[in-house]
């Protein structure tokens, strides 16, 4: 949150843009002008409360709601790790994360417990395993494994790094990184779960994420994942860490070591929590496979691409030139996208069908208000995917105002002129 504010990102991302791209079904979630800052404030304060363990339940619910609201305002800023934080905080609503070493537990003796049921911690581990393993499965495709794409595009441009810079000019490095990355994602959950390999696994986690931090602009994500991976370790390690913190802050850690195990205040709360969590995981396991319901190449149509741990899989570059036609006088003209969209919005819009359609609708309304009673909107768009030459993306003869906005398959896209095999 501090990073967002300091970089002026709230202003740039949510307040300056003329339109915001909504998620299907969440069109009602819109930036609220200057009040947008309030949401960020709520989010930041609740995050601090959660980490202190003060008024935990309310704080985590507020955090989940405010953080998710921020993400839903504009899908331009969609990132898998924001989604991760959203669902992790949702999961944590149902977990007693404040039972130990928290202000709540300090004040409330009934809540204070040295132990919590194993399933509560296991559920977080399980979520992390899903993230890694699904990210690994997504890499099992012909572009990643046999064309070393998109790393073959990304790595050579990092030529100025010491030592690695030269290695990145060599093709075997691109393949090595691709295969190692896929192996890492698929194996790391098991390496972390098995006690004997855990320390090695954690070292791999640190190396892997620091490397991605150096190579790619991925913000906080590497640090989040490194710290999250600590959850796989036994209580001993966590007790040691808390011991250090206690000494520095002069907190009596012993107050919390009362040898009791957390029990849910009422049995229906426990049952309800467990059922919600089970349902949650069932959805998490199935949702990433929804792309199978759509024909066509997933990377091309992106139907079912989001929310499924597909990270760093594509280098997709696009260019969309919108044409407005006034059927009454036959005049037509092209749109300068920079008049309506921020650079980031334009970038995301030009490679993703749902953005293109939403923008076309915005343009339709804009020109209806500005003198064209029934404007027709066409787009000439080209997309290059993973080093292939640019191809026509949207059917340029389709008047986009006649296309319905829905979750159904998009028949107005041009077919992908190649094949990517794999999951």
């Amino acid at each position: 949150m501090i990073r967002f504010t300091a970089n002026g990102w709230i202003e740039k991302l949510y307040i300056e843009p003329l339109l915001s791209f909504s998620y299907y079904g969440f069109e009602w979630v819109q930036p609220m002008g200057a009040y947008t800052y309030m949401i960020f404030l709520i989010c930041a304060v609740s995050a601090i409360f959660v980490s202190l363990g003060y008024k935990y339940r309310i704080a985590i619910i507020l955090f989940f709601l405010s953080f998710t609201y921020i993400e839903l305002m504009d899908k331009t800023t969609y990132l898998n790790h924001y989604y991760f934080i959203s669902i992790l905080s949702f999961l944590m609503i149902f977990l007693p994360a404040h039972a130990y070493y928290s202000i709540d537990a300090f004040k409330n003796e009934n809540l204070r417990s040295e132990r919590v049921p194993a399933w509560t911690i296991d559920s977080i581990k399980f979520l992390l395993c899903i993230v890694y393993f699904y990210a690994g499965l997504a890499k099992l495709n012909s572009d990643w494994l046999f064309r070393a794409m998109p790393l073959q595009i990304w790595l050579p441009s990092k030529y100025s790094l010491p030592i690695l810079g030269d290695l990145f000019q060599q093709q075997w490095t691109h393949f090595a990184f691709s295969w190692a990355g896929a192996l890492y994602d698929l194996s790391i959950p098991f390496l972390l779960l098995i006690k004997r390999t855990r320390v090695l696994a954690f070292l791999l986690v640190v190396v892997f994420h620091l490397l991605t931090r150096v190579l790619f602009p991925i913000g906080m994500f590497p640090f989040i994942m490194i710290v999250s991976a600590l959850i796989f370790f036994d209580a001993d390690l966590h007790n040691k860490i808390l011991g250090y913190i206690s000494r520095i802050l002069r907190i009596s850690k012993e107050t919390f070591d009362n040898a009791t195990t957390y029990t849910f205040p009422k049995s229906w709360v426990k049952k309800a929590s467990l059922s919600v969590i089970s349902l949650f995981f069932a959805i998490q396991l199935l949702f990433p496979f929804r792309y199978m319901l759509y024909p066509g190449e997933l990377f091309w149509t992106e139907e079912g691409y989001r929310f499924s741990w597909r990270v760093m899989l594509m280098e997709k570059t696009g260019y969309a030139n919108f044409k407005v036609v006034n059927p009454e006088n036959g005049l037509r003209f092209y749109i300068d996208n920079t008049q309506f969209l921020t650079p980031l919005q334009e970038k995301q819009m030009s490679t993703q069908p749902d953005f293109i359609l939403e923008y076309a609708r915005y343009l339709e309304n804009h020109y209806k208000e500005n003198g064209i009673s029934n404007p027709e909107i066409y787009v000439e768009s080209y997309v290059a995917l993973n080093g292939r030459g640019s191809q026509l993306y949207v059917n340029p003869d389709v008047n986009l105002t006649t296309v319905d906005y829905s979750m159904n398959r998009q028949t107005w896209l041009m077919p992908f002129d190649d094949e990517i095999k794999g999951l």
Partner: protein, 380 residues
């Protein structure tokens, strides 16, 4: 044990892939610094030196004319104006190392000529500036009353014939002010240009060449972004698209007032062709003086061996420049007449220029892995 297997497997996989993978970059590192040196020493600085010499001559010609506004001196000044304007087309794309909004001060058109001209703000027209003497060319708000387009108006647009035009500088109530305004404009152009050239030679050149990183603020990335921006906005849209009615600025109607060098009529195509040449020369790294090819984007694309429809991307892009040039060749020298008579022919040129926006912005940027001047947010 698991570790050993893991390492062994990975090594095996790395080795097995080296022999039979698809073609990719050669082993030896490509030197982006060589491109920066070529751009700076063989293209940018020589182009600015040439332009600075022209603007100096323009200033001199305007002083001669102001001292003695004869038809001969007017003709000389016009001819020097055209030479300078052509030289301008070879530096217009460069923004790095220049002064803020350099391009806008020198070439904002349509110019704000008088109360009847396009978008005119009556208190800030050239005519008003001259008649009141109340103007400050350093202010950003005065951009559309100075530079080459303002001179275009003053040297060609004041009257329908030369005798009448000369009278503005001889017998008009404000004749002194007209003469002073012309020299003020040429002095302004010359001073700004000297500042830029001086900056490039004394310091910025070394800064530019040594900033070899690959980040968004590296010289290479910024220059490529500037290059594409110029091509898209100033060449494609500014010189062809907007006058032909391709953009929402005129809601699809042809708009002759948006033609570059609108008042002199016959030079719009010459200026456009110069600009197209300079863009292609930059892409190929052609030495400004000798036209010999040096390291540039074409070589880098060849190095990355980006294949495109069976041919190299650099060839595809160069071919597309040629196609655009052929399309433009049939246009009237006077784009105002072209737009009035047959805007569709001009739109055909626009379409071919547009095709190269896709090659440059989509294919080339992807191959070079350059992020457009987009927002610096996180990715995942």
């Amino acid at each position: 044990m698991k570790k050993t297997i893991f390492l062994f497997l990975s090594t095996l996989i790395f080795l097995s892939c080296t022999d039979n993978g698809p073609s990719g970059p050669d082993v030896d590192d490509f030197d982006r610094e060589a491109i920066l040196v070529n751009w700076a020493d063989n293209i940018i600085i020589p182009s600015f030196q040439n332009f600075a010499a022209e603007t100096e001559a323009l200033k001199l010609a305007s002083e001669i004319f102001s001292a003695d506004p004869t038809l001969q001196n007017l003709t000389d000044l016009r001819s020097q104006w055209l030479d300078s304007y052509k030289a301008w087309q070879h530096v217009s794309m460069f923004e790095m190392g220049t002064v803020m909004n350099f391009r806008d001060y020198l070439n904002t058109y349509p110019t704000n000529a008088n109360e009847s001209s396009f978008n005119s703000d009556e208190s800030k027209t050239i005519q008003n500036n001259i008649e009141t003497g109340d103007y400050n060319l350093i202010l950003p708000s005065s951009r559309n009353t100075q530079g080459f387009p303002a001179l275009d108006y003053l040297l060609y647009g004041l009257a329908d014939n030369d005798a009448e035009l000369l009278s503005f500088y001889t017998t008009n109530d404000h004749a002194d002010a007209y003469r002073a305004y012309v020299t003020d404009l040429t002095t302004r152009i010359d001073t700004l240009t000297d500042t830029v050239l001086d900056n490039w030679i004394n310091g910025y050149r070394d800064e530019f060449v040594s900033n070899t990183g690959s980040g968004a603020n590296s010289s290479f990335n910024m220059m490529v972004n500037d290059f594409i921006f110029y091509y898209e906005k100033h060449l494609r849209a500014g010189k062809i698209g907007i006058p032909a009615g391709a953009t929402n600025i005129s809601s699809g109607n042809p708009s002759p007032i948006h033609v570059e060098a609108y008042y002199s009529r016959n030079f719009s195509k010459i200026l456009f062709m110069e600009s197209l040449d300079s863009v292609q020369n930059f892409f190929n790294g052609s030495n400004f003086k000798s036209q010999q090819s040096g390291e540039s984007l074409d070589d880098y694309l060849d190095y990355l061996k980006t294949m495109k429809e069976g041919t190299d991307l650099s060839t595809v892009i160069n071919n597309q420049f040629e196609i655009s040039r052929e399309k433009a060749a049939v246009l009237n020298d006077n784009f105002v007449a072209q737009v009035d008579n047959d805007p569709f022919l001009m739109l055909a040129t626009y379409d071919e220029l547009q095709r190269n926006v896709v090659y440059l912005k989509v294919d080339m940027l992807q191959a070079l892995n350059i992020t457009p001047d987009y927002f610096d947010s996180d990715g995942d």
